[in-house]
């Protein structure tokens, strides 16, 4: 039975219990489901050639044995079988392959198989997300068959393209623009068309990466600008009477308040769903623009749909049947970052502590390929078990990855490749994700040029920035889109004096981390830079 038929047949409370009843589980009940589904996955995965390629002949029979025998994995462990799409080697037959870019990987793309069981779970959880997002309080969701969704995400074969398909199976919510048409349009065209259709039909939901939604929301303003030259009749053509009424009121209000028209003036959104990185940079602006607080969800290509916030907007609740959750405590993953040979220990979902920061490790249920998989995302636990189920706030990617606005993931390898390709004589560098005064993310690259190159080539900050940008764009399509779609220039360069990195090493007896060093370490580096200048001035003075 489709969800929309259930809407007619069952009461709200019954539907809430069906889809969101997991919110009322006790931690012990939650773990019971987790453990049971993990046993299924252990059975399937261990017997598969993929599992055996990692287990090397071992056969775990219990969860404890599974955790002891299976090392923490990354995509490299699966690449040989997954990239060649060896369906027979997998724990269960895939019905769909979802892909994403693999920045810093040995291949431009990563692919992940989805089984029927995974998709069924995904479908149920997608409806749960919609209910949790539209609910004003427990059980009081607001979903109608006639609703419309402004959809600002990539189509299949990307994971985000799954959503329209899954929704279509359950409810006739209309996507603006329709997915069939949207795939043929450019990003800008899609947004404009989406808003145009929204003016006629209304928009009840909006879903996208925070940064993209922010950009899309701004597109409404630019659309208004473009309409200025047109006659009133042409402007109002096709707009529904209710939107027209709101449009007229909004125009009057905007004139009075001397501001531009905002989406909230025209649309009464039931929920605004955001996913991806850096949402916290855009949440406040999005709420201002749409009049509703965004709800964050956690999903991905490999992990499927993992969890979502509720009406309280205070952290993501994980679904019990999507993945088996393990968490690497902060100290452990830092230890692992310093010494890659170190195998960090993990804690389970019911062992996390309030306020603790963890890197998540996932085992996908229902015949998924990935087990004990390090997705590379870091969460903070908010609300321990004494407050019901623990919730998690997304912090960022792991320090080894710089993710800008959920668009691109830059690793040490990709920076090194860009530097090599650019042939710039950079002697030392370190990169850190920082935020502008407007709370927008960017990558700050601290570089030190080779002394010999200073006399033979032009090495101003601007030249370096443009040079490196060219190669980042060359290597990474998503990086290019950052500028093209969001208008963001994600790279900022600070040139350090020659010998600064050596000075740092001399002072602290260690090299500074290449990726995302602590702010204190950057300060120390800048102090080395400054101190060097002081020393030089002193020398200069003496020389004079």
């Amino acid at each position: 039975m489709r969800f929309q038929e259930k809407l007619r047949k069952y009461s709200k409370q019954e539907l809430w219990d069906e889809y969101c009843g997991f919110l009322d589980l006790s931690p012990a009940e939650f773990m019971r489901i987790q453990r049971r589904l993990l046993m299924e996955q252990i059975e399937l995965w261990s017997a598969s050639p993929l599992g055996q390629s990692i287990l090397k002949g071992k056969h775990p029979r219990t969860i404890e044995e599974f955790r002891a025998m299976v090392p923490l994995t990354t995509y490299d462990d699966y690449a040989p079988m997954l990239l060649s799409r060896q369906a027979k080697s997998l724990p269960a037959e895939p019905v769909l392959w979802i892909q994403t870019t693999w920045e810093g990987g040995v291949h431009p793309l990563k692919v992940a198989p989805y089984t029927k069981g995974m998709l069924d779970t995904y479908k149920r959880n997608v409806i749960a997300v919609l209910m949790m997002c539209t609910a004003k309080h427990k059980g009081d969701f607001d979903i109608s068959v006639t609703d419309h969704m402004l959809y600002a995400l990539a189509p299949l074969p990307y994971a985000t393209g799954l959503l329209p398909l899954l929704f279509k199976d359950e409810i006739d919510i209309e996507f603006l623009p329709p997915v069939k048409e949207a795939v043929k349009m450019s990003f800008q065209e899609r947004n404009i068309q989406g808003f145009k259709m929204g003016m006629k039909k209304g928009i009840e939901y909006s879903f996208g990466v925070g940064s993209v939604l922010y950009y899309v929301s701004q597109a409404l303003t630019s659309m208004q600008e473009r309409q200025k030259g047109k006659s009133f009749l042409r402007r109002i053509k096709g707009i529904s009477p209710s939107t027209m009424w709101r449009y007229l009121l909004a125009r009057r209000k905007c004139r009075e308040e001397n501001r531009e028209l905002l989406p909230k003036d025209l649309f009464q959104l039931k929920c605004l769903i955001v996913g991806g990185t850096d949402n916290r940079c855009y949440k406040a602006d999005l709420e201002k623009m749409w009049g509703v607080a965004p709800v964050e969800l956690f999903a991905g290509t490999e992990p499927t749909l993992v969890g979502c916030e509720t009406w309280t907007r205070d952290g993501v609740y994980f679904f019990p049947d999507a993945c088996f959750y393990e968490f690497i405590p902060e100290r452990e993953f830092e230890k692992n970052a310093a010494d890659p040979s170190y195998q960090p220990s993990t804690v389970l979902w019911d062992e996390v502590t309030d306020g603790g920061v963890y890197e998540i490790v996932l085992t996908i249920f229902k015949g998924g390929a990935f087990v004990r998989y390090r997705v590379g995302d870091v969460f903070r636990c908010v609300g321990g078990h004494n407050e019901g189920l623990p919730r998690f706030q997304y912090i960022d990617r792991v320090p080894q990855v710089i993710d800008i606005a959920g668009f691109t993931r830059i690793t040490e390898t990709s920076i090194r490749q860009a530097i090599q390709l650019s042939r710039l004589s950079i002697a030392g560098w370190t990169a850190k994700k920082e935020f502008t005064e407007n709370n927008r993310p960017f990558m700050h690259l601290y570089v030190e040029m080779e002394r010999s190159a200073l006399t033979t080539s032009a090495v101003s900050t601007q030249i370096l920035q443009e040079h490196l940008s060219v190669y980042f764009k060359y290597m990474d399509q998503d990086y290019k889109d950052l500028k093209r779609i969001l208008g963001l220039d994600p790279l900022r360069i600070t040139v350090l004096k020659c010998g600064t990195f050596a000075e740092y090493q001399r002072r602290f007896d260690r090299e500074i981390r290449r990726m995302n060093p602590e702010s204190s370490e950057i300060n120390d580096l800048l102090q080395c830079h400054e101190a060097g200048s002081m020393e030089r001035r002193e020398v200069k003075y003496e020389w004079i």
Binding site: L7, K9, E14, F22, R32, I33, R36
Partner: protein, 883 residues
């Protein structure tokens, strides 16, 4: 009847029926009370109207106002009813509208402006009421519209996105429409005089009743009880006959000429008959409409209860459950799972034998969890909507789907989930109804009680028939079964295989009884797995098993037994944790009718074959034959005392020692002499004295396997040599265990170097753990070693040796035995064998010729500490056992 008063009667009757029946019903929700208030208001309305039409006392006007109060309160009570029906907590208009409409009633009573008093028109003996409405009537309509407009708003708000609730509300909304329409049409001239408004009230009440029924707030059968039916028929009878009483009385008195008093009696009788007939009619109608289905199910439940409580077999109970379910509901297929001892719920019964049999649900299965927490039958589609369903495995979902399961029923007794019944779709199609689930719940509960009793009975029976340790058939039941099977297979064949574990007492002593029990369990598991369903595996003795093999001839029984024996031999080779000696079995086979004419003979012959195998060196499977029979007869005729029976073997062995080490030969004879004397003095039975003597002769037999350079070494033994020397105990045991019927000396031989304080070897047994014969040997062995001349020391004096024995009482030696021995030596009951050997004749054995050779200086292995052979690297006497 005049003036449409029949309409009022009907409507009043309807309301009264509903009101009375609801009075008796269990009120589970507030809305049921509101509905009763609504009926009460309707009774006001219709009752007032009826009283007006029959011009009841006190006046038409009075009843007009009663009727109006009813009609004015309808909108506001209806408002309350809908909000309660929706369980809407909000709705601030409740009080407001109540005040407004009460105000209207009072206002109208004072002014007569909204609905004026009717004009009473006499027409042909009857009466009609003509209402002269003015425009003010529309004020009332307006207020009703406003009230219900707000109600519509509240309904919309409540039902937004809640389609199911709106569907439930549809009859209620139709009721609003009916009452509104009826009242509007009543104001039109066309319907003047006809109480359309009252009729619409009946329609409305019926629709509301239907809405409550659909919402399953009550069961129809609960409303319709016998007293309710009687009350209804009485009220209805009175109301209907009220108009006819006077004409009938007049007819009887004036037309027929009956006396007045008689007429009254006749009328009363008629009335009673009429009410009686009415009651009969209502009862039949109600039974036909509502109760028949329930009654049928009730009969089935009663029958099931009677039948099932007589059954004691789980399978029979489940079959009965299946039969009754199929009869009542026409279920296509039924599967019943019952909890096994391993806690899993396994499929024990299916109505379709061709179906999947390998179905089992572990205790943590979501369905099991659901029943533990919720109980009650559940439909598959409802279960799939629960949060627990998230924990289902994909193959489990597929299994339910492939079996076409639509409904699950728990078998719960005293909060214990004994089993689960899974039902496929109905044969005639259609979904399971609430009444079906109630029926299933009832029979599941009855079945669960019967099942629990059956399980307890089966458990008790199994315990009586089952060997506790191995789970095989017990000895007692084995004899029963053997007789049964023998009778059953008279026309065919029946084989019996008796399997006896070799040297099991030794196995127990070497590795402990726990390991011994484990070994028996593994042997039992092998036997269970190896035999067919029609065969039986039993444990008939401590270390003896038997297989009853109906339909087997000797050859196939032998093949099977050999396979089992081979698997038993592999038991310890498969276990990596410890090195255990190989388990072997001696098996004897016999089969009827080939070699036995009775069950008793069958068993006797198989036993004989086992005995033959034991005598022939164990570890073999032997078919009973004439040869076995002949040997058995010979054995019986030549049977002598236990000792003389084995004397030749013992001679052979002692002679073998003598060729290698003459000292040991002499020492063994001495020890045998001391041991038998001490055993006698300790009051042991004759056979134990014999064992002590034989053990004394054989206790150092293992030295045959020790290198002569070590055996005869005059200097200190290195630690390695010491270890080799200690191995003579195990060597001895390994030699003796292959001697037929001498294994009873093994415990003594094995433990003659154990110390009473637990510091001995090889097993470090202590105190009473050491077999008695072993403790006897320990004392006598040490004494003889001390007073003997050795290559590395002079013999100790008897006094000194006795003094050491006294000192070591409770440490090295059993204090009682050592004290007794000392006492026996001191008072001359034992003669110390100083520098001489005890002759075999002295021991009661025939002399044996042994080669003459010089007395070796090599050590026997006396266990006494202070006079030990020096061992390199050891701190000195007293710290370690020495030779």
């Amino acid at each position: 009847m005049s003036g449409y008063s029949w309409i009022s009667i009907i409507s009043l009757s309807c309301y009264l029926i509903l009101f009375v029946t609801f009075l008796a019903a269990k009120k589970t929700q507030k809305v049921m009370y509101t509905f009763m208030v609504f009926l009460f208001v309707l009774i006001f309305w219709s009752g007032g109207s009826f009283a007006m039409r029959i011009q009841l006392w006190p006046s038409v006007n009075f009843w007009h106002y009663v009727s109006l109060a009813g009609i004015f309160l309808i909108p506001v009570v209806f408002y309350h009813f809908v909000l309660d029906f929706l369980e809407e907590p909000r709705g601030g208009g409740r009080f407001f509208w109540l005040v407004v409409f009460l105000g209207l009633i009072i206002f109208n009573m004072l002014t007569d402006s909204l609905i004026p008093r009717p004009e009473v028109v006499q027409e042909g003996g009857g009466v009609q009421f003509i209402y002269h409405y003015s425009w003010q009537i529309y004020v009332v309509f307006l207020l009703v519209v406003l009230c219900w407009g707000q109600l519509a708003f509240l309904i919309r708000r409540h039902c937004k996105g809640n389609g199911a609730v709106f569907l439930q509300l549809i009859p209620v909304l139709c009721g609003i429409g009916a009452i509104f329409l009826g009242n509007i049409l009543a104001t039109l001239p066309f319907f003047q005089g006809f109480p359309l408004d009252i009729l619409s009230g009946v329609v409305n009440a019926g629709l509301l009743f239907y809405a409550l029924y659909k919402k399953q707030l009550f069961r129809m059968t609960m409303l319709i009880s016998r007293p309710n039916c009687f009350l209804l028929s009485s009220i209805l009878g009175l109301l209907i006959s009220y108009n006819y009483l006077l004409p009938i009385q007049n007819f009887l008195v004036y037309v027929i000429g009956v006396e007045h008093n008689h007429a009254l009696i006749i009328m009363a009788m008629c009335m009673l008959v009429f009410i009686g007939l009415l009651y009969l009619f209502i009862s039949l109608l109600v039974n036909a409409l509502f109760v028949r289905g329930d009654q049928q199910q009730g009969v089935l439940i009663a029958r099931f209860s009677q039948e099932v409580t007589r059954l004691l077999g789980t399978g029979d109970i489940l079959r009965k459950l299946s039969d009754i379910t199929q009869e009542a509901l026409g279920v296509y297929r039924i599967f019943a799972l019952v909890r096994m001892e391993g806690e899993d719920y396994k499929l024990l019964f299916t109505s379709s034998p061709l179906e999947e049999k390998n179905v089992s649900l572990p205790p943590e299965h979501p369905l099991v969890q659901y029943f533990r927490e919720n109980g009650g039958c559940v439909l598959q589609r409802e279960f799939s909507r629960t949060t627990m369903y998230r924990g289902m495995w994909e193959n489990e979902k597929q299994l339910f789907s492939s079996l076409g399961i639509e409904c699950f029923c728990p078998l719960i007794c005293e909060d214990e989930l004994l089993g689960i019944v899974m039902l496929a779709k109905k044969e005639e199609g259609g979904a399971y109804r609430v009444s079906d689930l109630s029926f299933l719940q009832a029979i599941s509960t009855i079945c669960a009680i019967a099942l629990k009793n059956a399980c307890m009975y089966e458990k008790a029976l199994n315990e009586a028939r089952q060997d506790e340790l191995t789970g095989l058939i017990s000895r007692k039941y084995f004899y029963e079964l053997l007789d049964q099977e023998f009778d059953r297979n008279r026309g065919g064949s029946l084989a019996l295989s008796v399997i006896n574990v070799d040297d099991f007492r030794l196995y127990n002593q070497l590795y402990g009884t726990h390991e011994g029990d484990l070994a028996l369990q593994r042997i039992a598991a092998i036997m269970k797995a190896s035999v067919e369903q029609s065969c039986y595996a039993a444990r008939i003795n401590g270390k003896e098993f038997a297989l009853i093999l109906p339909g087997y001839d000797i050859y196939s029984a032998k093949v099977l037994t050999e396979t089992i024996a081979a698997q038993i031999g592999e038991i310890n080779s498969q276990r990596n944790s410890h090195v255990r000696s190989r388990l072997t079995v001696s098996a004897g086979i016999c089969a009827a009718p080939y070699m036995a004419a009775s069950a008793k003979e069958l068993l006797k012959n198989a036993d004989s074959a086992v005995y033959s195998v034991k005598r022939a060196g164990k570890n073999a499977v032997l078919m009973y034959s004439e040869e076995v029979y002949r040997k058995e007869m010979e054995q019986q005729s030549q049977h002598k005392s236990g000792y003389s029976e084995h004397a030749s073997t013992i001679y052979a062995l002692t002679a073998a020692i003598d060729t290698k080490d003459h000292y040991t030969f002499q020492h063994s004879q001495n020890v045998a002499y001391y041991a038998s004397e001490l055993a006698k003095a300790a009051g042991l039975e004759h056979y134990l004295v014999e064992i002590a003597k034989e053990a004394g002769l054989l206790h150092d037999i293992g030295k045959i396997g020790i290198r002569e350079d070590i055996l005869n070494k005059t200097g200190r033994l290195t630690p390695e040599e010491y270890e080799i020397m200690k191995s003579h105990v195990d060597n001895g045991v390994n030699i003796i265990r292959y001697l037929p019927s001498l294994d009873y000396v093994i415990p003594a031989v094995l433990s003659h170097h154990e110390r009473y304080d637990g510091r001995g070897y090889p097993r470090k047994l202590a105190g009473e753990e050491i077999p008695l014969a072993g403790r006897i040997l320990a004392v006598t062995d040490a004494f003889d070693a001390m007073i003997s001349r050795r290559s590395y020391r002079e013999p100790l004096s008897v006094e000194r040796a006795l003094s050491i024995l006294r000192e070591e009482c409770g440490k090295q030696f059993d204090p009682n035995l050592a004290a007794l021995f000392v006492e026996m030596v001191e008072n001359g009951r034992i003669e110390p064998q100083i520098q001489k050997s005890v002759t075999l004749e002295k021991l009661g054995m025939p002399p044996v010729v042994v080669p003459d050779r010089p007395v070796s200086a090599a050590a026997a292995v006396p266990a006494v500490v202070p006079v030990g052979v020096p061992v390199e690297g050891t701190p000195g006497p007293g710290d370690a056992p020495a030779f």
